[in-house]
Amino acid sequence: MSEVQNSKSEVFDSKSYLNMELLRFTTAGSVDDGKSTLIGRLLYDSKSIFEDQMENIEATSTRRGETSVNLALLTDGLKAEREQGITIDVAYRYFSTPKRKFIIADTPGHIQYTRNMVTGASTANLAIILVDARQGIVEQTKRHSIIASLLGIPHIALCINKMDLVNYDESIYNKIVDEYRQFATRLKTKDIHFIPISALVGDNVVHRSEKMKWYEGVTLLYLLENIHISGDINHIDLRFPVQYVIRPYSDEFHDYRGYAGRIASGVIRPGDKVTVLPSGFTTTVKSVELDGKTFEQAFAPLSVTVLLEDDIDISRGDMLVREGNVPRQSQDIEAMVCWMGEKPLQLNGKYALKHTSKDARAVVKEIKYKLDINTLHRLTENVSIEMNDVGRIKLRTTAPLLVDSYTRNRDTGSFILIDEATNVTIAACMIID
């Protein structure tokens, strides 16, 4: 049994947390490549495991007749999952170091759950993709990388795992890296890091490996703590979708009319000239505030309340932008779609649509192609887009949407489709400009 002394015990600088950043990452891999063990290792070695959790998995490991503590049990979820030994749904895990707080979207690896990968990837800064050093690059590695790239995850960490099982052989690592580099020329994600690890033993996860002196790069945790992420957000194009209008109707705030929302991108300051879309009126920002406190400047992803100099009729679904830097306004939208519905996508089918704070309806005008997400080949003959498929479609919406391309703006470039009969979310769509 591993020693529990590794649980949390260090003295904590009680004010340093005010400088911690938040990093969201997703983990993907195929069924047996040690994803749960890696997460368990990150939690364990970063001292994020509590005694009662540790005792719990020690007891379970012993009961199952395992010789060492199975760290993978730390991420065990629902009863059905434990019975089947698989992960059904996205699970969220949390840990922090003095530098950053981390949110892990732990997504299942098997083919039929591409929709979960998409869910986990949609807000991630980074994707960890695991490769079994004995197997090398397999179909699932490619599929996960393509989805990460499609969803616009800015950084990928390719972890070549189980190095302990290939005698920490540098040439095996190099061969995998070369093969992946060739494949990755077709990906949109350009910032790719390679790390040889053993999640089981702990090499290069939190602590540097003694067995792989030939590796000169950083450990996985070091990468997670230090990778530059503030550049991941678009601070150029102001996009402020109005979410809710605050009207107190009180004596003190009789004429108060605040536009509440979360800045999707860009920066907003008092005195800025802004255009209200779709009406096109231009006015000046009187104040940017929250809870009675004003901001000199506010930027994505802050939730704020904006007050304007002029009394203009503005409601949920409208957008404040900078004069001269406006999104495209259109009812004809072309997008990559990840289909999540049980029934296949219907040509000429009508669906409810949600884009920023705007609701509309849409009809599918054309299915351009289906993407083979293992090879990136485009299939154009007799195409049917079914659950877990990715394809390119054209839609016509009931009202104009205010859109940017997904590659420029993850917020104004994305929308979901909803089945109007069941109310279930059935597609994630990324706009192509």
Binding site: S9, L22, Q243, G261, R262, D291, G292, F299, N423, T425
Partner: protein, 300 residues
């Protein structure tokens, strides 16, 4: 110019976004208020989200009748201060009207009974969205919970058939009779909550800070001496310096020995602590899947 936010401001912004989305998408939302720090945080964030307007949701307290007096005093003061509307769903009333039967025996608790009272209160007030302070780091069944969690007309949660939540697009569409549970602080950890409460100087019930209290040990959990908990002859009451890490029904909330008397002390303690927050909750010790089972039938 630097455009970086610390993790607490990032979480705050996300939670406020969720809160405003609820106000925009639902007709009759409510905040489920237990009197614990998480529901106090949720209420505080709601106030921030809509200021200078009042919080557009009533606070709903599902009251087991087995409370710490400090919780109720605090609740009533907060409601007055925020000029909020309070609705109480009474478990005692559910027992009196025969909707549920009181558990018997030494470990009798009203935790399970709360579910019926909660569902009755939702139905009676026609709430279509109930905002709660549950966090994903609390418990393994909660790690898979959505921000917008759909419940069928029986209030049931189906973990295998949840709606995907992609980007910041939240789908609150539903059929008549169904409703949603909303969890705006899903991504906060216990430590985040304490750090934020300290950063914002938010007032809390005195139970969270160290104080003298008469307690006794049952199955490894230190419970407060109370007329609501019958004691075994072998159980012995001692006066100790304790505080509570979570606050719920008095029959199932365990005390921890602690001298932490300020928020900074608590942050220090939580950051270095060796057991999970719910480790002191007798209601979770009933079985390995007790939370998952309770959630499926409509528990918070």
């Amino acid at each position: 110019m630097s455009y970086t936010l610390n993790h607490l401001r990032t979480l705050e912004s996300e939670s406020i976004f969720i809160m405003r989305e609820v106000a925009a998408q639902f007709q009759h939302p409510a905040i489920l208020f237990s009197g614990g720090k998480d529901s106090i945080l949720v209420t505080y964030l709601a106030k921030k989200a809509f200021y200078p307007a009042a919080i557009p949701f009533p606070l709903v307290h599902v009251d087991t009748g087995h409370n710490f007096k400090e919780t109720i005093d605090f609740r009533d003061r907060l409601v007055k201060k925020l000029n909020a509307k309070l609705i109480i769903g009474s478990v005692q009333e559910s027992i009196d009207t025969g909707r549920v039967a009181e558990e018997k025996g030494i470990n009798a608790s009203r935790i399970r009974l709360q579910t019926t009272t909660l569902l009755d209160t939702i139905e009676k007030n026609k709430f279509d969205a109930c905002i709660g302070g549950a966090r994903r780091d609390e418990e393994k069944a909660r790690a898979k919970e959505r921000f917008f969690s759909h419940r069928d007309e029986f209030g049931q949660w189906d973990p295998k058939n949840q709606r995907p939540e992609i980007w910041n697009l939240f789908n609150g569409r539903m059929h008549m009779g169904e409703n949603f549970r909303i969890f705006p602080i899903s991504n906060w950890t216990e430590l985040d909550v304490w750090q934020y409460l300290a950063m914002e100087k938010i007032e809390l019930p005195s139970l969270y800070f160290s104080h003298k209290r008469r307690v006794f040990n049952r199955d490894g959990v230190w419970l407060a001496e109370s007329p609501f908990i019958p004691m075994k002859p072998s159980e012995e009451v001692k006066e100790e310096i304790v505080r509570f890490r979570t606050i719920g029904d008095i029959t199932s909330t365990g005390a921890t020995f602690s001298t932490a008397s300020t928020l900074d002390d608590i942050i220090q303690e939580v950051a270095t602590t060796r057991t999970t927050e719910r480790g002191g909750r007798a209601d979770d010790k009933r079985s390995e899947t007790s939370m998952e089972d309770r959630k499926k039938v409509g528990y918070f």
